[in-house]
Subunit: 196 residues, 2 copies
């Protein structure tokens, strides 16, 4: 039992690394089997179908995001410190854990026009994540850090947009100022949301 | 001569539509040939290689962007009206011309971890576009619309980040408020940049 779940972890880790670089759609069972030293049929035994594997890779990435971005941020004080921690942890997470950058950003743009269960699965996770950003802003209002009446949905839109911009500047453009640009934009967003 | 360039236009249009939906990497010469009613070898005669075709599709999209987004915006007054026109034209362009949304946004995230000439080609076009946004902000400073000392590179970062956010909200999440969120964020950016 323990061995089975360990094997699955090894497969999912390799699959996530692969798909963060080349996309979930390019995920090849054959190449993945080679990478983890298994037969194709042995690997298939764990997932049944490519689609199932793709969805499990997404769940695995989401769990990883929760463990490394949200959970440590929840240990910070409620309000602005927690919001800044989410951004900081996300920077570390997308840069260190994956050679191909944030797997969600990649998957979101890859699947926006590929209808089906994989797309719906990504959409569900992204919606949950955006609701968490919105909730973090609502808590900052309750704590008196942000002003009453702040549009927390718009806050979440800007917060995530800047992450997308950061991803494009740092990964496609290899812009050395990507982090500075992102921090400036985020600082301005926090400042504008503050209670005066 | 005229017929050759017309055929090429037909091929590029079909290729761009295909790749805005399923990605440039999935572009199949065979499927494309079927779509435009040509033989594979006839189609190859126009482009020589898949990589060449991919790069020409990017150039074709860039020309289309210039014609439909930048050129009509240049007819507007310098400064804020021109910046707002760029955003408005981009909305129309990405929504109307392509069933798969903005082909550049899709290509930028598809190729960020695929080194090679196609990636470099996309990177070149994206850098040029961001420089144009930066220049539009500089003109707004010169016109006295934006304050002196505005960081025009940060302006370009935010301007493009909001477009990326809009794309994700409207295409992946099918969020009906995508345009409202984008307009609110853009309005706030313009307001913050204004000369007081």
């Amino acid at each position: 039992m323990a061995k089975g779940s360990e094997t699955r972890e090894v497969i999912l880790k390799a699959a996530l690394d692969f798909s963060s670089k080349l996309g979930l759609e390019s995920l090849s069972i054959g190449e993945l089997a080679k990478k983890v030293g298994m037969s194709k049929s042995g690997l298939f035994g764990h997932f049944n179908s490519k689609e199932k594997l793709q969805m499990m890779v997404i769940d695995y990435a989401a769990q990883n995001f929760t463990d490394n971005v949200f959970i440590p941020a929840f240990k910070k004080e409620r309000g602005i410190p927690r919001i800044l921690a989410i951004a900081e942890n996300w920077h570390k997470w997308s840069g260190k854990y994956f050679t191909g950058g944030c797997p969600f950003v990649a998957a979101a743009f890859e699947y926006d026009d590929r209808p089906g269960p994989v797309r719906d699965h990504i959409m569900g996770h992204q919606t949950t994540m955006l609701k968490s950003f919105e909730k973090a802003a609502k808590i900052a209002v309750l704590e008196g850090h942000f002003y009453t009446g702040l549009d927390c949905k718009s806050f979440a839109f800007e917060f995530y947009s800047f992450m997308l911009g950061y991803h494009l500047y740092s990964r496609l453009l290899k812009d050395e100022e990507a982090k500075v640009r992102h921090n400036d934009a985020l600082e301005s967003l926090i400042l504008r949301s503050r209670k005066v």
